[in-house]
Assembly symmetry: C2
Homo-oligomer: 140 residues x 2
DNA sequence: TATCTAGTTTATAATAATTCTAAACTAGAA
DNA sequence: TTCTAGTTTAGAATTATTATAAACTAGATA
């Protein structure tokens, strides 16, 4: 009871902290994404299915898109560009690497320290490195 | 004269060698892609513009798509998945890495030996590494 | 060289993911 | 309670790509 109360308040504070109004849609989506003690990868399609399946009130696809974008901009989600034609998102926002299975089209985390880059090039003049995360493509 | 002859014959042999009929469309596209002594990156959109601009006879967009796919399957091109919603291709088929500029949306090659991976994880059981090329995202 | 046909090209339609639009709704400040 | 900027929503629009099916052609064979 108080636990649920706290969880919801945490979400509300988190949203407010980024200038996002805590609407019931955002709160419900946030619960689905951040409630767990484990992180996971998803696409808009899978998130939409998950949310509009259970006993939940329905949320429009447009809002799912809007919210995922807002959460990504706020730094609560990371976008992972790895697949043709479809964006993946990660609730694990720590810097880390991935396996991407070309067959099942699934991502798996690789801990940051599981890959060691002993030599990295200097970026072109005037540019800086925004992100250096490795995607290793695997298959059967 | 003989030089052009040879170039065209090289292309024809290359195509035949992969079971691809050397049609005039494929030959023209191949000239645009492989004629140079330098490699480059492109999207279907940029290739289509390039080909349907100059004095060339026109080639349909569908054929551009078909041909890029055929050349990729034949190993003459590499697909680079790095950008949301659009596929990039590389005429450099040697194993190498890339900078991807988020601002200009341009790829730049990084020589294979400019990045050294001193530690790489073992892929999940039953899977093997298909590809380990690093994309470093850069910005201003 | 003429004929034949599987492979290819093409215009166009269809699909898939995503973004846009504009009207209805709502959080929360006043 | 009122008010309004921010938000949600259904549906249309857009973009990249793939599918369809009719017309064309490379090149093997007669
Ligand atoms: Mn798309
Ligand atoms: Mn697409
Ligand atoms: Zn991850
Ligand atoms: Zn390259």
């Amino acid at each position: 009871m108080t636990k649920f109360m706290n969880q919801k308040n945490e979400i509300i504070n988190k949203l407010r902290g980024s200038g996002l109004r805590p609407t019931k849609q955002r709160i419900l989506i946030a619960k689905n994404l951040f409630d767990n003690n484990k992180t996971f990868h998803f696409t808009v399609e899978t998130l939409n299915r998950k949310i509009n399946k259970s006993g939940n009130e329905k949320i429009s696809l447009a809002t799912i898109y809007n919210t995922v974008e807002a959460f990504t901009n706020a730094g609560y989600l990371k976008e992972i560009l790895t697949s043709k034609n479809k964006s993946y998102y990660d609730t694990n926002i720590k810097s880390h690497h991935h396996f991407y299975d070309e067959g099942s089209k699934e991502l798996t985390d690789i801990n940051y320290n599981q890959i060691k880059l002993s030599k990295v090039p200097i970026p072109p003049k005037g540019k800086k490195i925004k992100n250096l995360e490795v995607v290793i493509r695997i298959q059967k």
